[in-house]
Amino acid sequence: SLMSPSHYGPPSFHNMFQPFFEMIHQAQQAMDVQLHSPAFQFPDVDFLREGEDDRTVCKEIRRNSTGCLKMKGQCEKCQEILSVDCSTNNPAQANLRQELNDSLQVAERLTEQYKELLQSFQSKMLNTSSLLEQLNDQFNWVSQLANLTQGEDKYYLRVSTVTTHSSDSEVPSRVTEVVVKLFDSDPITVVLPEEVSKDNPKFMDTVAEKALQEYRRKSRA
């Protein structure tokens, strides 16, 4: 901060937290859009090897008939083409073919290695995405509360009424009903058994905890 907080006083709850709601949402969206887009589907280089996944082959055949050429191993005559030796006619060509096969093998190996690195990179992306989800879980209720709060009441929680009456259940008992508001939220009613008396030092902690649980439940919904 450029401004000294002691001089100007701290900013309000609304100003402090309100932008986070939108920002966390935007960051999540930026990640999720890509995670669910077709561009994020990994190119499968497994078909370069034997024993590939059938669905990959189907996709490959539909997209491009070269997928069928991978079945050459099952046709004798096709195999024979691969072993045709033209070196008697032209030895230089045989060398070149060997060179091609060697570089092809190297390229296939490096492509596979690159794919593994990409997968690690993808898992980092998934990590960040799950951290954003945690961030959302942990913090969204605060920023959402701030988002709905325009006023600058000095109380984060305001108690409107505290009443005691008989419960509606089959076995009548006395209950304490406390109506509270968290910042500018709608009134939240918390019902406590008579045993939790308002003289108990933990009375308001219990009320606030329950009110907050109710607020978070509603925000998630």
Partner: protein, 205 residues
């Protein structure tokens, strides 16, 4: 039946506010922890990106070598033409039959269209393409294209998300210590916003 006085209500409100205040602080501490984890993941991602760049360079060099050899080989006269053509004519029906049988059994949908497409492809293909492992080269090039696309998409996504996350965490709020006693206190909470929080106001202009 109203049981408590206004003064008591105020006291209860203060106590409840303290609890909420504490919960907000807990949430913020949790966010700080997540912030550390995100930064750690980002650092790992950056180092991974360096490895990816190196691996990409090696892969592309190897692809370049493969394509070079392929081009040189293509420039040679097709010396085994006759043998190759004869084998190819026998290879084609077998390849088509094997492929269609597989497709009908495993892939099920759209066999007719795939059969027609395959027929055209085989008729247009040369046995030399086959002999030179052209299909493997094409697969590699296709993988290369798709891998670049995936990396671009991931980086783009990361860049946008990171930009937002950085802005979020660079906020003055996260740079300040949370045990500041005045910071969250509901008592003495300011009733007026400081003017610097109105960036578009005339005052600032």
């Amino acid at each position: 039946e109203q049981e408590v006085s206004d003064n008591e209500l105020q006291e209860l409100s203060t106590q409840g506010s303290r609890y909420i205040n504490k919960e907000i602080q807990n949430a913020v501490q949790g966010v700080k922890h997540i912030k550390t984890l995100i930064e750690k993941t980002n650092a790992e991602r950056k180092s991974l990106l360096n490895s990816l760049e190196e691996a990409k360079k090696k892969k592309e060099d190897a692809l370049e070598d493969t394509r070079d050899s392929e081009m040189k080989l293509k420039a040679f006269p097709e010396v085994c033409n006759e043998t190759m053509m004869a084998l190819w004519e026998e290879c084609k029906p077998c390849l088509k039959h094997t492929c269609m049988k597989f497709y009908a059994r495993v892939c099920r949908s759209g066999s007719g269209l795939v059969g027609q497409q395959l027929e055209e492809f085989l008729n247009q293909s040369s046995p030399f393409y086959f002999w030179m492992n052209g299909d493997r080269i094409d697969s590699l090039l296709e993988s290369d294209r798709q891998q670049s696309q995936v990396l671009d998409a991931m980086q783009d996504s990361f860049a946008r998300a990171s930009g937002i996350i950085d802005t979020l965490f660079q906020d003055r709020f996260f740079a300040r210590e949370l045990h500041d006693p005045h910071y969250f206190s509901p008592i003495g909470f300011p009733h007026k916003r400081p003017h610097f929080l109105y960036p578009k106001s005339r005052l600032v202009r």
